[in-house]
């Protein structure tokens, strides 16, 4: 039984891990057991899911962005490279 009792620190770490779908089955059991006795972590978990949505939105933004170097930057790089070659 003692194996199932975890601290809030451990509980919220598992909670974060589960946001990425990487918590193990046993970890999820421990987490849900902890929720029964700890409302604070329950709230953390609820808000954590919301934060995950916010982060996903950021991740999507990031994927849309295709970052390139400008033509001037490339010209500058070429000059620098030629200096070395010479």
């Amino acid at each position: 039984m003692a194996k199932f009792i975890i601290s809030c620190d451990e509980a919220t770490t598992i909670c974060d891990k589960s946001q990425y779908g990487e918590a193990t089955f046993f970890e999820k059991i421990k987490l849900n057991f902890h929720f029964l006795i700890c409302k604070v972590c329950g709230l953390y978990s609820k808000q954590n899911a919301k934060m995950t949505n916010v982060y996903k939105m950021k991740a999507n933004d990031c994927k849309k962005e295709n970052r390139c170097l400008s033509t001037e930057e490339k010209e500058h790089l070429k000059k620098e490279l030629q200096k070395i070659e010479a």
Binding site: N48, K58, R67, C68, L69, L77
Partner: protein
């Protein structure tokens, strides 16, 4: 001479047009800073030129350049690690002693006011998150970004940064706890 035909060759004059953007993208998602990424790309080309004579033609030109860049990125990580390493150690969300592992008062989650309204996607929301991420210690921000924003596999991050998986989850946990608190103060309840 059939063997020579399959060998890859280097053509430094075309490097920038062919690979600069690819390498820049590779670097910028890892260091999250355009100027640093630019420097790393430049360093990569320089190092490539200098060691061109050692190129054995076993890998394609681009693969070879990426391998060089990869080492440059790792060197950069090492540098920020040693700089910020000391500051991180004392960063601790939980009290020592009797209360170890439980919430310290200021970190206890508060109920969020009308969070449904506040979840609507706006530029302001995005800016607030960026500001909160920037407040994290550099290493936390880096691991958090790689895992959450760039969506790298856990294994890949561990390999690149040379950390263990449990190490990664502790960093992610600390980053997310700090971000949650920052968003609570600056977005949800302000």
């Amino acid at each position: 001479m059939t063997e020579n035909e399959t060998k890859h060759t280097l053509d430094p004059n075309t490097w920038i047009d062919k690979y600069a953007d690819y390498l820049f993208n590779y670097a910028v998602v890892r260091v999250n800073n355009n100027d640093i990424a630019k420097d790393l790309v430049q360093d990569t080309f320089f190092a490539g030129l200098k060691s061109a004579k050692n190129f054995e033609g076993k890998a394609a030109e681009r693969t070879w350049l990426v391998a060089i860049l990869k080492r440059k990125v790792i060197d950069y990580y090492r540098k920020i690690n040693s700089k910020k390493g000391k500051a991180e150690v004392r960063m601790n969300f939980y009290e020592e002693g009797d209360n170890e592992g439980s919430w310290i008062e200021e970190r206890v989650p508060q109920t969020w006011d009308n969070d449904a309204d506040k979840m609507i996607e706006t530029e302001e929301l995005k800016t607030t998150i960026d500001q909160c991420i920037d407040k994290l210690p550099e290493k936390y921000a880096l691991v958090f970004r790689m895992k959450t924003i760039q969506e790298f596999e856990t294994e890949e991050i561990c390999k690149e940064l040379n950390i263990t998986a449990s190490n990664l989850w502790v960093i992610i946990h600390r980053a997310r706890t700090q971000l949650r608190k920052c968003m609570e103060d600056n977005w949800f309840n302000n």
